[in-house]
């Protein structure tokens, strides 16, 4: 039997079926504005926080090359950053009815670490036995949120640019409770098979919904979850 005949025979023997995979990896990325506002003057440091991603994916392989998948993942999306800002407008409202509005110039350190239950869904394209590509979207529900940090070595102007200047040596902020409980976005990536069942996997997850609600004014620009998951998949 020639090679061609063998392949042809396999093609004929293809049956639509389900595939099960365990996904494990880490998220690298940021809760970031898309295009920096001019009030951000300098990024002094960036680091990914410990952001594991663990989940399960079910694929319905409809034909040899195409399938659809649905997964469920526990996703930590974290990062830390140190930056310098100028005339950064902020409005802080508190539960006791208080409100502070002002423009801050100085140093900022922010740590964001939000944990989601994510349901990714994709169209899956498998052109050959090595590569597997997917493109789709995700919905995610927040189950734990952290968004806090410090502002230091600067000043804030009460109310806006013409308000009185108040020196800030160091002050903390915590917007954790303001993070939205639902995120939705697009995602896509590629997996490269390196063993019988194991593949290396990279997947970009791009949030389309600002992580803070519209009436939140602690930052005067929207932040989106943009994270790359790097990891392995294990086909059960």
């Amino acid at each position: 039997m020639s090679v061609t005949q063998l392949l042809a025979q396999e093609e004929h023997s293809f049956q639509p079926h389900l595939e099960h995979r365990i996904l494990a990896g880490f998220n690298f990325g940021a809760a970031t504005p898309i295009g920096f506002p001019n009030t951000i003057r300098k990024i002094n440091a960036y680091w990914p926080e410990f952001s594991p991603s663990l989940g399960y994916e079910l694929t319905y392989q409809a034909c040899e090359e195409w399938g659809v998948s649905l997964g469920v993942k526990m996703d930590y999306k974290g990062m830390g950053t140190k930056d310098q800002v100028q005339y950064f407008h902020t409005i802080i409202t508190t539960e006791d009815g208080g409100r502070f509005e002002g423009d801050f110039s100085g140093h900022n350190k922010t740590i964001a670490k939000n944990a989601y239950i994510t349901l990714p869904f994709s169209a899956v394209f498998t052109p050959n036995t090595r590569w597997r590509f997917n493109l789709g979207g995700y919905v995610a529900w927040l189950f734990s949120s952290n968004f806090h940090g410090t502002v230091s070595d600067g000043y804030i102007r009460n109310g806006g640019p013409l308000g009185e200047k108040v020196t800030i040596s160091e002050a903390t902020f915590d917007f954790g409770t303001n993070v939205r409980s639902f995120d939705i976005g697009v995602q896509g990536g590629a997996a490269y098979r390196v063993g019988k069942r194991i593949s290396i996997d990279g997947n970009l997850n791009w949030g389309l919904r600002p992580i803070f609600p519209g009436d939140f004014r602690g930052l005067d620009f929207p932040l989106y979850n943009v994270f790359l998951t790097l990891g392995v998949t294990y086909k059960i």
Binding site: F28, R41, I92, T93, T94, R157, A171
Partner: protein
């Protein structure tokens, strides 16, 4: 493959770096400094940034001849009239300076106010309200409407209290001994924001002097700048007050300390020099020459008259350059954030008599 992905990630991050935009043009329009030779002044110049005023305490000679201030403004901003122009004072014309920010968008007008203390007697009849933060402050009944009293209210405004005069610990009350109004101080609990920096209580305060917000958050005791220029020798400090301590005395951490009753404090301090004392040294400075203190800060349900003499603690002459501060607080330990929430001190018809 991993290298490729790391490469993609770096590109993503690099893009973000590359996206740092051109710096915004300076939107600020402050008068940063206003200098007049010290020989023309009876106290240091104070730039009231909250209300955009330059407060001058001038010698009579300087008032008559005018002065030539040297002024600096925010970087790139434009000042009219310019620094170095002479400034003349008359009762008719108000001197103003207009600062336009480098961005051209913002303008701030500063009014030059020659502080006129006149009679050292106060009934706290005329009150104004800060336009933005809505706290009240008393002004003098003289034709200049001088503002010589200040309080912790502007600092408390920074800690995010609701914009309502009754949320601030110093305010006007109709519970007056004489006239329509008196000054009421009520110790209140901290705000959600102030508790983040460990401040669980704000005592009500009223003092002769100015509030400098610059250091209000990290050195709050330096924000309260005590004293106004004084000529001669004071004899007695008198007036009417009532005081009701709050129920539960708490320490700085907010823990209730049983068995301790809150008390108020009220004192007048005469000191040498033209630079104000502040919360860190008003009781300890070696510039202090005479003190008059209300001896009993305990409960007083109805208006009670107080009349205490100035006790000389260091020798001084009536011709010395002197400043006088009066400091009142609804919680005696309020400067270290201790006291009882609800403690209420009301003051009316105060005066300082001269020898």
């Amino acid at each position: 493959m991993n290298k490729l992905k790391l490469g993609c990630l770096s590109v993503l991050l690099l893009l973000q770096y590359a996206c740092i935009k051109k710096a915004p043009v300076n939107p600020e329009a402050d008068i940063i400094s206003f200098s007049i030779p010290a020989r023309y002044l009876t106290s240091d110049v104070f730039i009231d940034q909250i209300n955009s005023r330059i407060l001058l305490n001038l010698t009579p000679a300087a008032f008559d001849s005018g002065v030539v201030p040297i002024i600096t403004v925010s970087e790139g901003a434009h000042l009219t009239p310019p620094s170095g122009d002479s400034l003349h004072f008359s009762t008719k014309n108000q001197n103003t300076y207009v600062v336009t920010s480098a961005s051209g968008v913002n303008q701030k007008t500063y009014v030059v106010t020659v502080v006129n203390i006149g009679v050292w007697q106060w009934d706290f009849e005329i009150w104004r309200e800060n336009a933005k933060d809505k706290y009240q402050y008393p002004i003098e009944a003289n034709e200049d409407s001088s503002e010589i009293w200040s309080s912790g209210n502007p600092g408390i405004a920074l800690s995010g209290v609701p914009a309502n005069p009754l949320e601030y610990p110093l305010r006007a009350t109709t519970d007056a001994y004489h006239g329509k109004y008196a000054a009421e101080m009520v110790t209140r609990k901290g705000t959600a924001l102030s508790e983040l920096v460990g401040i669980k209580l704000f005592a009500g305060s009223l003092f002769l002097g100015v509030f400098d917000p610059t250091n209000a958050l990290f050195q709050p005791l330096k924000a309260t700048q005590f004293g106004q220029p004084y000529i001669g020798k004071p004899a007695r400090f008198m007036g009417y007050y009532k005081y009701t301590p709050g129920d539960n005395y708490q320490d700085k951490s907010g823990t209730i300390i049983p068995g301790i009753k809150d008390s108020c404090s009220l004192y007048a301090v005469l000191f040498k020099g033209t630079t104000r004392l502040d919360g860190t040294n008003i009781q300890t400075s070696d510039r202090i020459v005479a003190i008059a203190t209300l001896p009993d800060g305990g409960p007083q349900a109805n208006y009670k008259r107080f009349d205490v003499p100035f006790i000389e603690v260091r020798p001084y002459e009536a011709t010395d350059q002197l400043m006088l501060a009066i400091v009142a607080s609804s919680s005696k330990d309020g400067d270290s954030y201790k006291g009882a929430i609800g403690s209420r001190l009301v003051l009316d018809s105060m005066q300082v008599t001269h020898q």
